[in-house]
């Protein structure tokens, strides 16, 4: 029996990294977004998807919760929410 043993090229898409996230996850508020895509350019995982303003989303299967997107957002439209938060309005 073999478990995960070998990585082939292109595996960064296959290997999910979301379990690295321990403290907080970004929530895209979709209120004041101007579609500047600064969040996309700073995301080290490249896991923010979308093209239009107020439509950008993060793929939590890969997001490591570094918070770079929330820091760079000029409109403060991305908020880091505690992982254990149950605030439905911020999902």
């Amino acid at each position: 029996m073999f478990g995960p043993l070998v990585s082939k090229p292109g595996s960064s898409r296959k290997n999910k990294t979301g379990s690295w996230r321990v403290e907080a996850r970004p929530v895209f508020l979709h209120k004041n977004c101007i579609g500047c895509k600064m969040c996309i350019s700073v995301c080290p995982e490249g896991c923010i998807l979308g093209t239009e303003k107020n439509k950008l989303e993060v793929d939590l299967a890969f997001c490591k919760g570094c918070g770079m997107c929330a820091v760079i957002c000029p409109k403060k439209d991305i908020e880091m929410v505690k992982e254990e938060s149950t605030d439905k309005s911020k999902e």
Binding site: M1, F2, G3, P4, L5, V6, S7, K8, P9, S11, N15, K16, T17, G18, S19, W20
Partner: protein, 393 residues
Amino acid sequence: MKELLEGSMIVAKAVKLCRPGVISAYPITPQTHIVEELAQMVADGHLDSQFVNVESEHSAASVVLGSEATGVRSYTATSSQGLLLMAEVIFNIAGMRLPIVLTDANRAVSAPINIWNDQQDTISLRDAGWIQLYAEDNQEALDFHILAYRLAEDKNIMLPVMVCMDGFILTHGIETVDMPTQEQVDKYLPPYKALYKLDVDNPQTLGPLADPDYYMEARYAIHETQKKALALIPKLTAEFAKVFGRTYNGLVEGYQIKDAERVIVAMGSVCGTIKDVIDELRKKGKKVGLLKITSFRPFPAQEIYEALKNVPKVAVLDRSVSLGSFAPLAAEIKASFFGKAKKPKMISSFVVGLGGRDITKDSIKEIYSALTKKEKACEFIDLKPELLKENYE
């Protein structure tokens, strides 16, 4: 052909017959003669291998990890402190499922520094994921190397194998062995074909990071594969018998055990001494026997249960100890009987021969006679009480 040789030379010849492509090792007593001889064979052009000289055991293990990862059969040997220095890489080799074969000339671990035999070094690395086979004599040491490559490289196993042989007692002991021919070994051991390897034409990463989503499955797979090896070893030894004419069980071996009332369980060269004592005691009508453990990893719990379930009194001999706990082999022998209806009335545990203290026939007789008394847990045999009176106040 029968040959009279030192144990280390026997092992070197066995390794040569297995045609390793890369050998890397750092000399350490009592392993030195093995790799010295292999280096000589390469230098003389008798062995078509690359011998990589390195500055430490950590590097030796790293070199064979790398060479094996490129799909080349690789070999290393070490002992004691050397094995401990390799430890980090030892875990990696098993985790990366690289079927390397390593000879460990079993030696005590510092401090105090001691170059003589016990089995603390390999026992300390029992949890690394390697298969561990313990040889009783040099014929076994020879044969186990050939078996080890075949087992390690089986496409359902792909785990490294440690062939453990008692330092000095076997490595420096001169014995007559039946040396197989190259044709026999080639028949039994086909060329190595890697299932995965470092290859510039087909790039891939071996030993990548596995986060909490992946790690546990990789470790579970090794655990399950060890169990598969338990089933495969007897099949491979049966095939071995057809080619070489020598029969091993490969997991455990009973000696005069069928009607025995008192049985010693042990590993390695001490089994030879025990067999001699059994022959003597049997002549006097004493029903004594031996269960030799050949494969410590995977641990043959079921075979041990079957062999010992009807034996009233069992003594387990360890040439190592888990300081502050029990003797390792004894603890696992006892665990094999947990929850079973049939079990020995008594399983006594003895620690013997640490740091090369001789285990004499008298020591063995003392253990057999101790089995008529109260059960012992981790009793040290042949201690010198006067040495325990040192005082530094």
